[in-house]
Each structure stands twice: as structure tokens, then as C-alpha cells.
């Protein structure tokens, strides 16, 4: 059956990588070619027990697999810049980068995937970016946006050591994404970790200062509803908690992201949305590859 599917590699067999693997299992045009790490780990053992080829030689092992066309990098920004990004490019494998390295352009599937299909390395921004940039884009495309601010609240339990050690990377990368992909002249991102038990669902508040308030709330709402429907195709647990409200030129809405619970718990909507976006991007790239039969 492998002829009508594209083989993918995952580098980094941690929580993110393992959840990605389960999403690939469900995919109609992706299949697991390899799970690679740099040491023996629970993630490697789990993948092996599920019949996935594994290696502890990291990116090199993936690069040597002739039939792998796309690889997810779920390691760290430093590893992507130094090793994984260059090695994958050399091997002609498309990188879907889940680290904040941003060697390639930002990808938010519901907004700009069409423009990125031929890029060798696409970056998935941040979890908060995946949850909020589409809304900012939906507002800016109809009413313009001179400023977009988001507050992402994630439960302490779903913020791993990488996020915790790099709070600035999150806020800075998300802010840039609000501008370059969301279409706001200026972006500002805030992230809050909340330790409440049971853990809270990922919640994001999005506030946009529009350039043309005369467009009116109804058109803005319709544009947001359209993009939410699009998002729901790859993140079914995405929903508006507080529908868009407008006061003067200020549009506010609050969204909640419930994860699919593939490998990570449902409250980890932050991890689910970035993984789902990455898989959605890979699926479109794969569909293109399948259509052109081995091109590029």
C-alpha cells in the first residue's frame, strides 16, 4: 500500500514526536518511514513496538532513507540550525520544523500553506501562533490590522522544559508571526502558565485594532467563522469561547483549543495544534508530490 503514501521521518522521539507519530498513523497520505533519536529512549522503544523503523543515529539515519521525502523536526532550535536543517536539505528531504529555529518561512496552514508548498524548510511558528494567527489574519483581510495582541494561557503541565527555558523565543516568534502571517502592522504576544488542577484547556485571547472599523462586526465575524471552519478540519477541538466583540476599532475574541488526545492529554491543546498544523502541512505537500509522481 506504500505506493500511494509518502514516507516521513520524525526526528526527536519525545512527547511531541510521539504525538506526531500517532497523527501520521491516522493520515491518508503519510506513513512512518522512521523515528529517529540520538539515544535509546522510551519514545524509540514505543515506536519500534508499533512496527516503525527506528534509529539512534539522529538526522543522519533519516537522511539515508531514500524513500523518506518529508521529515518533522521535533528537537530544538539549536539542533535544527546546526544539524538537522542542513542535513535534510542536503538529502533533498523537506523539513517541517517544529522548533523556533525559523530557518524557513512561517507556516500557518489555514493562512499561507498555498504559498509555501515548494519551500525546502517550513517553520511551524509556535503553538500560540498556530492558535491565534489565523484569527488575526481573518480580521486583517477584511478590516486591516494596525495592532494585534494575543494572550496564550497554557497549563503548566503541558509546558515542557523547552518552552520554559525559552519564554522570550515564544513571545518574540509569535509576535513576528502575528505581523508577517497575520497581517498586523505590529504584533504583541504574551504567554501565561497556569498550574491549576485539573489542568485548564489552552485558551487564547486575541485583540486586534482594525484600520477600518466601518467594515463592521458582522463581516469580521463571517471572516473569523470561515477560518475557524478551516482550522477545525485539522484541529477539531478548536472553538470560539467568547465570540468576537467590537468596541470602536478594537475587536476581541477568545478561543479554546482542546487536544485530540492522540498521545498527549486533551488539555494539551497547545501541543495538539502545532502538531496538527505540522501534519496538515505535510499532508498537503505529500498530496502535491503524489499528484506530480515523484517530482521535486
Amino acid at each position: 500500500m506504500s505506493t500511494d503514501k509518502i514516507k516521513v521521518g520524525i526526528i526527536g522521539p519525545g512527547n511531541i514526536g510521539t504525538d506526531l507519530m500517532y497523527k501520521v498513523f491516522r493520515s491518508k497520505n503519510l506513513e512512518m518511514g522512521m523515528m529517529a533519536g540520538i539515544v535509546e529512549s522510551e519514545g524509540i522503544r514505543r515506536a519500534a513496538s508499533l512496527g516503525v523503523p527506528v534509529s539512534t543515529d539522529g538526522v543522519d539515519a533519516v537522511a539515508q532513507q531514500k524513500d523518506i521525502r518529508i521529515a518533522f523536526d521535533a528537537t530544538s532550535a539549536a539542533a535544527h540550525v546546526k544539524f538537522n536543517g542542513p542535513a535534510l536539505k542536503e538529502a533533498g528531504i523537506i523539513s517541517v520544523d517544529l522548533t523556533p529555529a525559523a530557518l524557513g518561512p512561517y507556516c500557518v496552514p489555514s493562512v499561507n500553506l498555498d504559498q509555501l508548498r515548494m519551500e525546502p524548510d517550513i517553520n511551524m511558528v509556535t503553538c500560540g501562533g498556530q492558535a491565534t494567527i489565523p484569527i488575526v489574519y481573518a480580521v486583517s483581510r477584511v478590516a486591516g490590522a494596525s495592532y494585534a495582541e494575543i494572550v496564550a494561557c497554557i497549563s503548566s503541565k503541558s509546558a515542557g522544559p523547552g518552552t520554559r527555558a525559552n519564554m522570550d523565543e515564544f513571545t518574540e516568534t509569535t509576535s513576528k508571526g502575528l505581523e508577517s502571517v497575520g497581517g498586523a502592522d505590529k504584533g504583541k504576544a504574551i504567554i501565561i502558565l497556569n498550574p491549576a488542577e485539573p489542568p485548564l484547556m489552552m485558551t487564547n485571547t486575541i485583540i486586534v485594532r482594525v484600520k477600518d472599523p466601518s467594515v463592521g462586526l458582522e463581516r469580521i465575524k463571517a471572516s473569523i467563522d470561515e477560518i475557524v471552519a478551516e482550522l477545525k478540519t485539522y484541529v477539531p477541538g478548536y472553538q470560539l469561547r467568547v465570540p468576537p466583540m467590537m468596541e470602536g476599532d478594537k475587536v476581541t475574541t477568545i478561543v479554546q483549543v482542546q487536544g485530540q488526545g492522540d498521545f498527549l492529554p486533551e488539555f494539551s491543546g497547545n501541543l495538539d495544534i502545532i502538531n496538527s498544523a505540522a501534519v496538515a502541512a505535510a499532508e498537503q505537500i505529500a498530496a502535491e508530490m503524489l499528484a506530480t509522481k515523484g517530482g521535486a
Binding site: V151, C153, S156, D168, I190, N194, A196, L200, R209, I254
Partner: protein, 341 residues
């Protein structure tokens, strides 16, 4: 002033221009900051904190926009001070190391890196960056009523490990009883090898009493503000604190009369509302809600025609932490929806 080496000493931190910024809705302008900083320098207050109430980078829809860029205010204060150190507050997730560098360039020599009490590990990068800049770095744990002394001590130890010069425990909701302050300060004093400080809110009218309990428990840094100006019912009233510490024969090095005059002549005219324990402030302390939520809750109550207390109680029930002002709208919306259903 006579220095008695046997006398116990406390280092005072004035945060009229940071926590007090909440009370004036972040409207400080350079002239006001210059007058306050000059007066605090003359009164020999050792550390003066200046920033948006939610720290560097706090100017936003969510926390309120600053009238004047805080870096300009830091620069203004630095120009007025020689012996007093200018401090800034930084909440990782809100402000960044880039913001800190700008504040340092403008003359800040102290940074208090604040995290929720259980999340100290997000401060590692920022404390390290401060030490690299040659700044004094303070590990500031917020909402300390939410967990017990042992957990607080663990988090304080992490911050000490990152390089913090002292640990400050904040009763951000003004919720703690005196015995709660005592056991928390004692636990941290026993755990770390650096000084420990305390930051009170007056929502249950316990700020002064709790500050004194903190000193008895071993705290050697105390926060306060002129006229108590701060979020919720405000902070420990600094000029009163100096009087009380004088009576206790605990040294501060601060000029009591000059500080009193500064409070009366400069701080009081700035106030936009009386710094009292009104119903909303009382509910913050009673329900354990972050003090700076207060004025935002009043706004939302107005907009949604709700009772502020209902919003505050729901925020407390949900376990909202510092910085989650955005959830006030969520709570107001959900309450409105419930009553409509």
C-alpha cells in the same frame, strides 16, 4: 543618621511607580516620576522600582496602555538618583531580555524577575541575563498564598540557583493571614543562603501587620508604596512602615520626615481614587484574586452589567494567576450567558 551596628536592619523597596502604576492606570508622566524619584533619593530610600504595573512590556490592551514609555520613565528616574538604585520588574512571558537590556541602558541597576509561585523555572534565562549585565537580580514569587511553605522553598531554591541576589515573596492577592506569612518566610529563610523579602497587599487590611510578621520571621527586604498606592487596596504604606520600624528600633536608613512630606506633597496629589479597602478590594483578599485585576473587573462589570464581586469570586474559583487579566472578559461573558440561559 547614627548607625548602630547592633541594630537590626531592613532594606526598603519603594514600588510607588510600579505597583502604584496600577492605581493610576499606568498614566505616569516624566514630571511626576522625576519629582517622586528626587524625593525618594533625598529620603534615602535604597531601591526604587519603576515599570508598568505588569512589568516591562506590560503596556497592552490586556493590562492597560502606558501613557509614557516605561523606558523613558526609567531614564527620568535614573537622572534624579545617585544613591538610590533604580529597579524594574520583569515577568517572563510578558517582558523579554531585550526589554531588560533597554531598561539597563536607561539606568536600571536592579531587576525583579517575577513568576507565579510554582513556575520559578521560567526565570532562569532572565536572571542569568541580568547577572551578565551586571545588575542585581531578585527572584520574585507571586501569589504565594496558593501553595504551602515547602513548595515555595523549592521554587526559591531554584531562583537562588539561577543567580538571584535575594528572594521576594509576594502576597499578590492580599489573602494571607499573619501566620501564613510567618511560615512561608521562615521556610524560605531556612532554605536559601540569600536574603528574603516580602511584598504585601492591603486587601484584608493586613499589609502592615504582615510586613512586621515577615520581619520577625527573618525577612530583611520589605516593599512599600507612598500612601499605599498600588493594585487592589494597595501595598504596605511606606512612610508608615518607616515609622513602625523606627518604633521597633529596626533600622532602614530612611529619612522619616522627608518621606512623610513626599507622600503628602507629591504622591497624594497623583492619586485618582482613594486608596481604601473598598468592596472589590476586600473581595480580592477574600477570594484570593491577583490584586491588579480590580480595575479591569470594574470595567468589565460596567460593560456586562454584572456585580464585580461575582466576577471576582469566579476568577478565584478558577485559579487564575497573575497576568490573566484577559480572563476577566471570559468570566464576564460566561456569567452573562449563564444568566441568559
Amino acid at each position: 543618621m547614627r548607625i548602630d551596628n547592633n541594630k537590626r536592619q531592613v532594606t526598603l523597596v519603594d514600588t510607588t511607580m510600579r505597583d502604584g502604576s496600577h492605581a493610576v492606570r499606568h498614566s505616569y508622566i516624566p514630571e511626576q516620576v522625576a519629582a517622586l524619584a528626587k524625593g525618594l533619593e533625598e529620603a534615602r530610600v535604597p531601591i526604587i522600582e519603576i515599570a508598568h504595573g505588569d512589568g516591562l512590556g506590560g503596556s497592552s490592551y490586556t493590562y492597560g496602555f502606558s501613557t509614557t514609555n516605561e523606558i523613558e520613565l526609567v531614564r527620568t528616574a535614573a537622572a534624579q538618583t545617585r544613591n538610590s538604585k533604580v529597579a524594574v520588574l520583569l515577568l517572563p512571558g510578558v517582558g523579554t531580555i531585550e526589554d531588560l537590556k533597554r531598561a539597563h541602558d536607561a539606568g536600571a541597576s536592579v531587576v525583579r524577575v517575577a513568576t507565579h509561585v510554582t513556575e520559578a523555572d521560567v526565570s532562569a534565562q532572565h536572571i542569568a541575563a541580568a547577572k551578565e549585565l551586571g545588575m542585581m537580580a531578585v527572584g520574585f514569587l507571586m501569589m504565594t498564598h496558593m501553595v504551602g511553605p515547602e513548595r515555595i522553598a523549592e521554587e526559591a531554591l531554584k531562583m537562588e540557583g539561577y543567580g538571584a541576589d535575594y528572594i521576594n515573596l509576594a502576597d499578590s492577592a492580599g489573602y494571607l493571614m499573619p501566620e501564613g506569612v510567618k511560615e512561608r518566610i521562615e521556610a524560605v529563610v531556612a532554605a536559601v543562603n540569600i536574603p528574603v523579602g516580602f511584598h504585601a497587599h492591603n486587601n484584608l487590611a493586613l499589609a502592615m501587620a504582615n510586613s512586621m510578621v515577615a520581619v520577625e520571621a527573618g525577612a530583611t527586604y520589605l516593599d512599600g508604596t507612598l500612601r499605599g498606592l498600588g493594585a487592589g487596596a494597595g501595598n504596605t504604606q511606606l512612610e508608615v512602615l518607616v515609622g513602625v520600624l523606627n518604633r521597633r528600633e529596626i533600622g532602614t536608613g530612611v529619612d522619616f520626615y522627608r518621606l512623610m512630606d513626599l507622600a503628602q506633597d507629591v504622591a497624594e496629589p497623583l492619586m485618582q481614587r482613594p486608596q481604601i479597602v473598598d468592596s472589590g478590594s476586600l473581595m480580592l483578599g477574600y477570594a484570593g484574586v491577583y490584586s491588579s485585576f480590580l480595575l479591569h473587573v470594574y470595567n468589565a462589570a460596567d460593560k456586562f452589567a454584572l456585580e464585580p464581586r461575582d466576577i471576582l469570586v469566579e476568577l478565584g474559583r478558577r485559579g487564575m494567576v497573575g497576568g490573566q487579566e484577559d480572563m476577566i472578559i471570559d468570566v464576564a461573558y460566561q456569567l452573562t450567558k449563564q444568566s441568559a440561559d
